[in-house]
Amino acid sequence: MAVVTMTMAKALNEGLRRAMEKDPKVVLMGEDIGKLGGVFRITDGLQKDFGQDRVIDTPLGESAIVGTAVGLAMRGYRTVCEIQFDGFVFPAFDQIVSQVAKLHKRSDGVYTMGLVIRLPFQGGIGAIEHHSESPEAYFAHTPGLRVVSCSTPNDAYWMIQQATHHDDPIIFCEPKSRYWEKGEVDLDSPPHDLFDAVVRHPGTDVTVVGYGSSVKTMLRAAEAAAAEGTSLEVIDLCGVAPIDFDTLERSLNKTGRLVVVQEAPRTASVGSEIVAELTERCFYSLRAPGLRVTGYHVPYPPARIEEDYRPTVDRVLDAVDRVMGFES
């Protein structure tokens, strides 16, 4: 079994390389992804090895990147689009919602929209405005789309391949603050199916659910809570839409307490969905209402104060205390 240690950025790069090797119809498109290798170097070296026809440096324009990927999909190509930063996906929103999400249906299944839209998302890297957004709820809300997020190099390596070979359009959310953290990657077999939620830390008192950058925060909270005698079960969603509710339900039926963690603002979010759906599924098991630890309802703040916007270990523990306190 080949296990290699690498960063998430490298794992994505290797995963894309492997997906391209496996299927000659896989092409990459985006701004500055060729010669430069992308601003995060995720596509580093791929244009050199696969040529300009498969790793395409595009003119500037997200609507066009996605809009042409739709046409390529009609022609049998699987395009992995890179959106340079989360905040720049909105010019493409119309093509995503009106075409990408609906064309499989509108063509009665004749065309599959097997394309991937890669979004470096969430904050925590000290960037300027529009570079730290968490737009996943918009896509999760949209029928026809799927959304995933990776939180480890191993998941990144495998999930980008699974997403590329998947026949539905997938918004692939990469927690950019984790790009440079290393981890072991098993090159031989995938750790789980693409949309499976993964228990990252087993526990018994509170089910804590999140994805992307929040996974690290939750794990640190679990450590801190353990020191205080509270056992957190940390679940990494991986599949943000659809959500693997069976795994969540199992956990919640055990713990009876739920905390959801996300950087995105709270209203009508993935966190809202998790709380609403699990309340319905596990009503009799619930010992407290599910709580959401989220970004505030304000535009993403300047980076110097972003750590007071993003969920912190403290805020997670605070919510844990509150759900634990509900019975006393």
């Binding site: 026809d53 324009g61 390529l72 609906k102 249906k105 299944g109 659809p242």
Partner: protein, 355 residues
């Protein structure tokens, strides 16, 4: 209105005019066959309008006046070429072989598409203005990667020409030199909005500034539309890159059956354009030059009549879709919310036995 920049091979009276770059190479048979196309799609359009009036269609977007542009462009396509329509390219769909009753499924509100776009190499309608033009450029990028000798014909209107998606398409098509021909039917209105609000200069001129040629053609001149489109598609297929064709025409009818054009235009204008009717123009040519007999025209009319009767029957036979079909093809792979929706509908007893 008619200026020297306009490619014309036929006067409104059906007389041939010479053009320095374009000449019609169509045989009498071909012209007659395209005349037949025009008569049939016009008949189709009339039938659809009355079906809508009778409550059998939810909506109809008539093409009257644009038959020359659409049949000219549609017939200029090679079999392996691919077209991207809006919601009004019934004439093009006809040329591509889309069964007319399929064409009406959208308007009977039983489908959001209506036919197999791959089979006819004619995309299903795109209603969000401009979206399909980028999709067309992407499809053309696929042709390039496949090394195929094919071209794409992307339709849009004078209104849509203002949309960012259409304009970005120009950038991309030029940058990648894609085999795509942009076919803008300037029918002078986007619903009530005159095309002068979209552009103060003729639309075809826009192409130049994006690095590729633009041509304005008399959209009511079938022969000119055919030749200009064929030439542009040939160029595209042989690696010559994109062309923008502006077919200068006129929407004789309402925007759709929901529209009331008397609110924004005067009858006199419509009357003027009646004199430029693309169907009558070809008929005049056929009479004068090809000596087509009245019996032939009568036969075409009869065929169109029979066609429309069959169309009507086909439409009336279109039942309400099974509500459960809304779950089909929402996703290509299994999805829990689809399963759940199917289950819920079954429990509600909707749509017969659950599958």
């Amino acid at each position: 209105m008619i200026d020297e920049e306009l490619v014309q091979l036929l006067t409104p009276e059906g007389e041939r005019v010479a053009h320095p770059h374009y000449a019609s190479g169509l045989s009498d048979e071909q012209i007659l066959s395209m005349y037949r196309d025009m008569v049939i799609v016009r008949r189709l359009c009339n039938e659809a309008t009355s079906l809508q009036r009778q409550g059998q269609l939810a909506l109809w977007a008539p093409l009257q006046g644009q038959e020359g542009a659409q049949i000219g462009a549609g017939r200029a396509m090679a079999p392996m070429d691919f077209s991207f329509p809006t919601y009004r390219e019934h004439g093009v769909a006809w040329c591509r072989g889309v069964p007319p009753e399929n064409l009406l499924r959208l308007f009977r509100a039983v489908s959001n598409g209506g036919w197999d776009p791959q089979k006819y190499r004619h995309h299903v309608p795109t209603i969000v203005l401009g979206n399909q033009v980028l999709n067309a450029v992407g499809y053309a990028m696929g042709i390039q990667r496949d090394g195929a000798e094919e071209a794409v014909l992307a339709f849009f209107g004078d209104g849509a020409s203002s949309q960012g998606d259409v304009l970005e398409s120009f950038v991309w098509a030029s940058s990648f030199n894609t085999p795509v021909v942009f076919f803008c039917q300037n029918n002078q209105f986007g619903i009530s909005t005159p095309s002068s609000i979209q552009s103060k200069v003729p639309l075809f001129r826009r192409a130049r500034g994006f690095g590729f040629p633009g041509v304005r053609v008399d959209g009511n001149d079938l022969l000119a539309c055919y030749e200009v489109t064929r030439t542009a598609l040939d160029l595209a297929r042989s690696g010559g890159g994109p062309t923008l064709i502006e077919a200068y025409t006129y929407r004789m009818g309402a925007h759709t059956t929901s529209d009331d054009p008397t609110r924004y235009r005067v009858d006199a204008e419509v009357e003027v354009w009646k004199l430029r009717d693309p169907v009558e123009r070809i008929k005049a040519l056929l009479v004068r030059e090809c000596r087509t007999k009245p019996a032939v025209f009568a036969a075409v009319d009869a065929e169109a009549e029979a066609f429309s009767l069959k169309l009507r029957d086909d439409v009336l036979a279109m039942g309400r879709p099974d509500p459960r079909s809304m779950f089909d093809h929402a996703y290509a792979q299994a999805h829990p919310l689809i399963d759940e929706g199917r289950r819920e509908m079954a429990e509600l007893g909707i749509g017969g036995v659950a599958h």
